[in-house]
């Protein structure tokens, strides 16, 4: 692909709101995970909750969109001058030429869960429950397009954990086809009962802080996040570049990854080919690294098949938690931070490396020139996406 300029980027996670807070936490090797207090859930699990979501009020003209997911989106949009950057793109290209492509897994589903708890004696939902602007999978893109007054094409990709990685591919293809000139690309996912109880029912949730690549790893810590980038056909001030996109399916099982990682290998090779790069050109790999026994083993196999065992890599989910539909976007912005600041972030909470895993997994921050990063996002239902990011030359 033709390298695609990323003019602006921002992320808000349990590490804090905005790039500076995130970078500070990464430099300090600090996790944002804590035992769950969200809704006083009686689940023995740790989560990455974002502070201040409830206190974030939507503009009154957007009141119909009110739900946790869209409040988190609004909190995220207000960081790092992102709104100004989008306004400039809108002025430059025209509102109809700027698209919105976002990933999410549960959108405003918490709003529905809460509405079910307020059903009347006949079982009907309360009249103040608005399905379209809250629960529907598209609602966060509708909200962002409305809030930013963007009138180009928009949709939400919802492929579980690869959602907000795949949207980068969509934006690149749309710009290349000449249908748009710029796009807001990212993802938002927020804490809700369905994912916490759902992953718990699959016994994929850890009862302690998650430990990607750890010998004693036992599952996920769920996180929530909003991550946004602005990609443009041309940019005067690129923060970085999208160099390659690779996508595939496992075609294997709905909730277990292919043990040999054939789909993951295909996605990584496709991303490298799309970027016209060799494995040795990648300086750091941001692993999907969810800390389930099977994901990390399968990903370790797959990554070492493509890269060998020398390329430094880590999962940042020990810091942010697994932010599901937002993970691709979060980890894209972390990749850009890594490049900009010459920082390969440590994988946290390891406690003791799993000796069966072969990769050069970083347990301490490494400061070095980082020119190109590969970021993996491998999802439920076997949807895989790998992205290659590069710095300003």
């Amino acid at each position: 692909m033709t390298p695609l300029a990323i003019s602006a980027c921002t992320l808000t996670t349990a590490l804090g709101a905005g790039r500076a807070a995130t970078l500070e936490a990464l430099q300090a090797q600090r996790s944002g995970l804590a035992p769950v207090t969200f809704m006083d859930l009686p689940l023995p699990t740790w989560v990455g909750e974002v502070a201040g979501v409830d206190a974030t009020a939507l503009p009154s003209s957007l009141a119909e969109f009110d739900c946790r997911n869209n409040r988190l989106a609004w909190l995220g949009l207000q960081q790092d001058g992102f709104l100004d950057a989008v306004a400039m793109a809108r002025a430059r290209w025209g509102a109809g030429r700027v698209a919105v492509f976002l990933g999410t897994s549960t959108s405003g589903l918490l709003q529905t869960e809460l509405a079910y708890r307020r059903r009347n004696a006949q079982g009907a939902l309360p009249a103040d429950f608005l399905y379209g602007p809250t629960q529907n999978t598209y609602s966060v893109a509708a909200f962002v397009a409305e809030a930013l007054q963007l009138h180009g094409p928009s949709w939400v990709v919802s492929t579980a954990c690869s959602s907000s990685a795949k949207v980068f591919g969509t934006a690149a293809r749309m710009i290349d086809a000449g249908l748009i000139d710029a796009a807001v690309v990212g993802g938002v996912d927020s804490l809700c009962l369905t994912t916490l109880y759902g992953f718990n029912s699959l016994e994929l949730l850890s009862d302690e802080i998650c430990r990607p690549w750890g010998a004693s790893r036992k599952g996920l810590s769920i996180g929530e996040a909003a991550a946004f980038t602005l990609v443009e056909r041309e940019s005067g001030t690129p923060q970085g570049w999208l160099l390659g996109v690779g996508e595939s399916n496992d075609g294997y099982h709905m909730s277990s990854p292919h043990p040999e990682g054939l789909g993951a290998i295909a996605a990584m090779r496709a991303a490298l080919a799309d970027a016209n790069l060799q494995p040795a050109d990648i300086d750091y790999i941001n692993l999907h690294g969810t800390a389930t026994p099977s994901n990390d083993a399968a990903e370790d196999n797959a990554v070492s098949s493509v890269f060998g065992t020398a390329t430094p890599g880590s999962s940042t989910k020990g810091a942010t938690g697994h932010t599901l539909g937002a993970a691709g976007g979060v980890e894209a912005v972390i990749a850009l931070l890594a490049i900009q600041h010459g920082l390969m972030p440590a994988g946290l909470n390891v406690e003791g490396r799993d000796p069966a895993l072969k990769l050069n997994y970083l347990q301490h921050n490494q400061h070095a020139s980082v020119r190109r990063v590969l970021s993996n996002s491998f999802g439920f239902g076997g949807s895989n996406a790998s992205l290659v990011f590069g710095g300003v030359a």
Binding site: L109, E113, S248, F380
Partner: protein, 272 residues
């Protein structure tokens, strides 16, 4: 204005009173009136027996139309990239989970949770045909068909390979149905290629249009479907393909942004 061109090689259709693409040709051509009847969802033949029985409505619908399009196109599904577009995903699971979560100590079915992801139909299809080709599952609420059509067309352009578009919607059970009423299940699937082949039915030239809405369909019952079920935004395209004449149509997508599609037939469809 940029245009995308794809060739249609296979079509799948399933909806109220629309049992399949061949069975619907008379209605789509205006030779018979559309008579609504409950959508009959077949058990997915591709799934192993246990999975077949457990498949939810959304999966049954998606697989039925995907199968029909692939069979007509005579392509190998094992290497086919796909786009699944739905305004709602698997609705019965969503209701069951929300209902189960309305309890002091919720007990949630792991199977229902796994199959509640928006890409459950994509996952089921790719597992059934053992395809490791790329797939996306997307949503644009009432504009989901339009979004799917664009994503599939740019996918064909980018890869030069065929793509399967599967657009489908199912109703929610109550109480969600009252908040989002859809009259029935509806789905349409299209197998697109990057270049004409001897099996091409028509070419589509797609561009982002202005704010002109799709024309009302002459059959009032069919037009009611078009307006009531998001995936049925495909009906003007299906009508044009059935009629086999060159025409320019509008497909509703977002308010203020629609798709213009020039349909140019290559072969006459088989007479009903």
């Amino acid at each position: 204005m940029s245009e995308l061109r794809v060739w249609v090689q296979g079509i799948g259709l399933l909806g109220p009173g629309l049992g399949s693409w061949p069975a619907s040709l008379g209605v789509l051509r205006g030779m018979q009136p559309h008579v609504s009847a409950p959508t009959a969802l077949p058990l997915p033949a591709r799934l192993p027996p246990a999975e077949r029985r457990r498949a939810g409505a959304a999966v049954k619908l998606a697989m039925a139309i995907a199968d029909e399009a692939v069979a007509q196109a005579q392509v190998d599904p094992g290497t086919l990239a796909t786009v699944f577009a739905s305004s709602s995903g698997e609705c019965a699971n969503c209701h069951a989970l929300c209902d189960a979560l309305d309890a002091p100590a919720p007990v949630v079915s792991p199977t229902k949770f796994t199959n509640s992801v928006h890409n459950a139909s994509s996952g089921a299809w790719h597992i059934a045909v053992a395809s490791r080709a790329s797939s996306t599952s997307l949503c644009a609420f009432d504009g989901s068909f339009g979004a799917g059509l664009i994503e599939a067309a740019i996918g064909v352009r980018s890869s030069g390979q065929p793509m399967l578009l599967v657009a489908s919607d199912s109703p929610y059970p109550e109480p969600l149905n009252a908040a989002r009423p859809l009259p029935d299940h509806f789905g349409a699937a299209f197998l697109f290629t990057a270049a004409p082949t001897e099996r091409s039915l028509a070419s589509l030239t797609i561009s982002l249009g202005g704010s002109l809405h799709a024309d009302s369909l002459p059959d009032a019952s069919l037009d009611a479907l078009r307006r009531a079920i998001p995936a049925a935004a495909a009906l003007p395209l299906l009508v044009a393909l059935a009629q086999g004449a060159s025409q320019a149509i509008a497909i509703d997508y977002l308010s203020g942004l629609n798709l213009q599609v020039n349909v140019a037939p290559v072969l006459q469809p088989e007479a009903a």
